[in-house]
Amino acid sequence: MTSSADTIVTLRGVYREYPGGVTALRDVDLDIDRGELVAIVGPSGSGKSTMLNVMGTLDRPSAGQVLVDGFSVAELSDRELSALRATRIGFVFQHFHLAPGVSALDNVADGLLYTGVGLRERRQRAEAALRRVGLGHRLSHRPHQLSGGEQQRTAIARAVVRDPALLLADEPTGALDSQSGEDVMRVLLDLHQSGTTIVVITHERVVASYLPRQVAMLDGRVIGDQAEVMTG
């Protein structure tokens, strides 16, 4: 199997079966290039979350091959996969999951906790990341003092603080009102503009329509993959 240097994620013939006969992914082939912004759309149960977990190395496929940032997931140990996530992959979840009672700054700094970077540098980079998502004025606020949109932007800052090669977002606007959702999408678009590769999972067609490439899933298969013709 091959993948070009421009490809950050390659899935080849990927299956993911769960005990009890549930097959979440069936023979999935997918390439995502560096710098892309991709939406994975599909109804619930279509396998898109499993796909995100597999791309994010949180889950290993039952069959098929997964390459992330040049590494073959099957050849790496659990420790090495953890290190790969720590340095190259950022996750954003639907429900933010910030540590309660901990300031936004330290929540974001925890994104670097497992990279071996010292506390001072973690905080400095966390501040920069929070400014990047437009929350420079909320550094010392605790999660309960932030709006839903601000919490999700904090979670995004936590994911991008280590400059990941790949940012994976699972329904990032699913728990937000439309205004906050738009803010969050704008932040993701900004990150995309500055070169971050982003994969967004969503079941909302509207959200997907913001994004230049849409991968449609149903029953564990990729049933559509269309990219808008981008200029420049």
Binding site: N53, L58, S82, A86, T87, R88, F93, H97, G101, Y114
Partner: protein, 400 residues
């Protein structure tokens, strides 16, 4: 191929911060489960502390009383009758080179003591009447609480000095010139009350009268019931060996020689069996506390599955997760242990102060308490930490 990624190490301050974070989020549960450990450690520290303090008090007491007092009393003859001490024994013991002073007392078993002559005869209260010499007080290291000690003058007249418990039993706590008690069918004037005499506790429940007065008023036959011998502190053992033969050269086997300071020390040693029991109870409390910590940690792992998944997604290895929960358990136990040491030391200090003892909490108890807490924390945290680490990331994240 590119080199495989290496996970970063957590620095000790980071581990401590993670542990503290986990505990801070659930303060009430932390307090309750640390309390179990605290009670166990406090019990053990307090038990050891009070017994050490009481021993320190005993040493202080023995230092001030001296361990160089010996007593010799009549034992049993070969035919099983009560032996007697020869009249000349005082003089003979006095001739041993290292004896500093020697004095005799004689009990008057028929002379009963009553507060007044209106008290029915059977209610004598177990008080013993002793004929004594004036050098008794100095030899046994006694002190007068109130009034005066017998002198050559008062020894000839019906005057009595009461032991501390005798005075208490008769309800006399102060000496004023003309207080009299009914002793041996006649009135004796109370001229003094003694403080407790730790090395001669039999005197505490005694009524002490002059040797001549006993002979003149109560028909005392002059039989010696006990000799008190104060020796050169360096020669106690050798005098101990000589004493029986000197007191009664004909029948040394009929003389009981003992060293009262040894009796005090033996009584203190006997208390350690009780200490052992209490220590055992403390250990049980500690065990229960450890189970409480383990339980708290197991529940914590169950409740925080999503946090574990999130940390795995942030790049935590299984080792990182294990260390975090183990550190949390250790911190929880050490918090409990530290509180327990403070509590136990406090209890010791209060108890010792109330007893007028010096407060002594040995360093090894504090070190032992912290070590015990660490071991409990490690044992209690090991299984939950392993469970947390074994959790697959996707499974953990699905727990939301």
């Amino acid at each position: 191929m590119i080199t495989s990624p290496k996970p970063g190490r957590l620095s000790p301050p980071d581990v401590l911060r993670l542990a503290a974070y986990g505990l801070r989020a659930r303060p009430l549960r932390v307090v309750l489960s640390a309390l179990g450990i605290a009670i166990g450690i406090a019990a053990m520290v307090a038990v050891v502390g009070t017994s050490t303090s009481s021993r320190a008090q005993l040493n202080r007491l023995l230092d001030s009383l001296g361990t160089n007092l010996l007593t010799a009393g009549p034992g049993l003859t070969l035919s099983g009758e009560q032996a007697k001490l020869p009249d000349q024994s005082v003089a003979m013991v006095g001739r041993i080179g290292s004896v500093e002073s020697v004095t005799a007392i004689g009990q008057l078993p028929k002379a009963k003591v009553y507060r007044t002559n209106k008290i029915p005869a059977p209610q004598s209260g177990g008080i013993g009447t002793y004929a004594v010499h004036t050098d008794l007080l100095k030899t046994v290291g006694g002190t007068v609480a109130s009034g005066t000690w017998l002198n050559d003058g008062t020894s000839r007249y019906p005057a009595v000095v009461l032991g501390a418990r005798t005075a208490e039993r008769l309800g006399i706590d102060d000496v004023n010139g003309d207080l009299q008690i009914w002793l041996g069918e006649r009135w004796f004037t109370v001229i003094g009350i003694l403080d407790p005499v730790p090395l001669a506790p039999e005197l505490d429940l005694g009524a002490l009268i002059g040797w001549q007065a006993a002979q003149r008023y109560l028909g005392f036959d002059g039989d010696i019931t006990k000799l008190y011998v104060r020796t050169d502190p360096d020669a106690v053992e050798s005098v101990h060996g000589l004493l029986a033969r000197t007191v009664n050269p004909a029948q040394p086997n009929e003389v009981d020689v003992s060293r009262p300071s040894d009796v005090l020390a033996a009584r203190a040693a006997a208390n350690t069996t009780f200490t052992g029991l209490l220590l055992g109870l403390g250990a049980v409390a500690l065990l229960v506390g450890g189970i409480g910590v383990a339980n708290t940690m197991v529940i914590s792992v169950l409740e925080r599955r999503y946090e574990i998944g999130l940390r795995r997604s942030l790049g935590a290895t299984r080792g990182h997760i294990r260390v975090q929960f183990l550190a949390e358990s250790l911190l929880l136990s050490v918090l409990g242990g530290g509180t327990g040491i403070l509590l136990g030391s406090g209890v010791t200090a209060v108890y010792a102060t109330l007893q007028d003892w010096p407060t002594v909490v040995p360093i090894w108890v504090i070190a032992g308490g912290i070590t015990a807490a660490l071991i409990i924390g490690a044992v209690a945290g090991l299984y939950p930490a392993m469970r947390a680490a074994r959790l697959a990331p996707t499974e953990a994240l699905a727990a939301a």
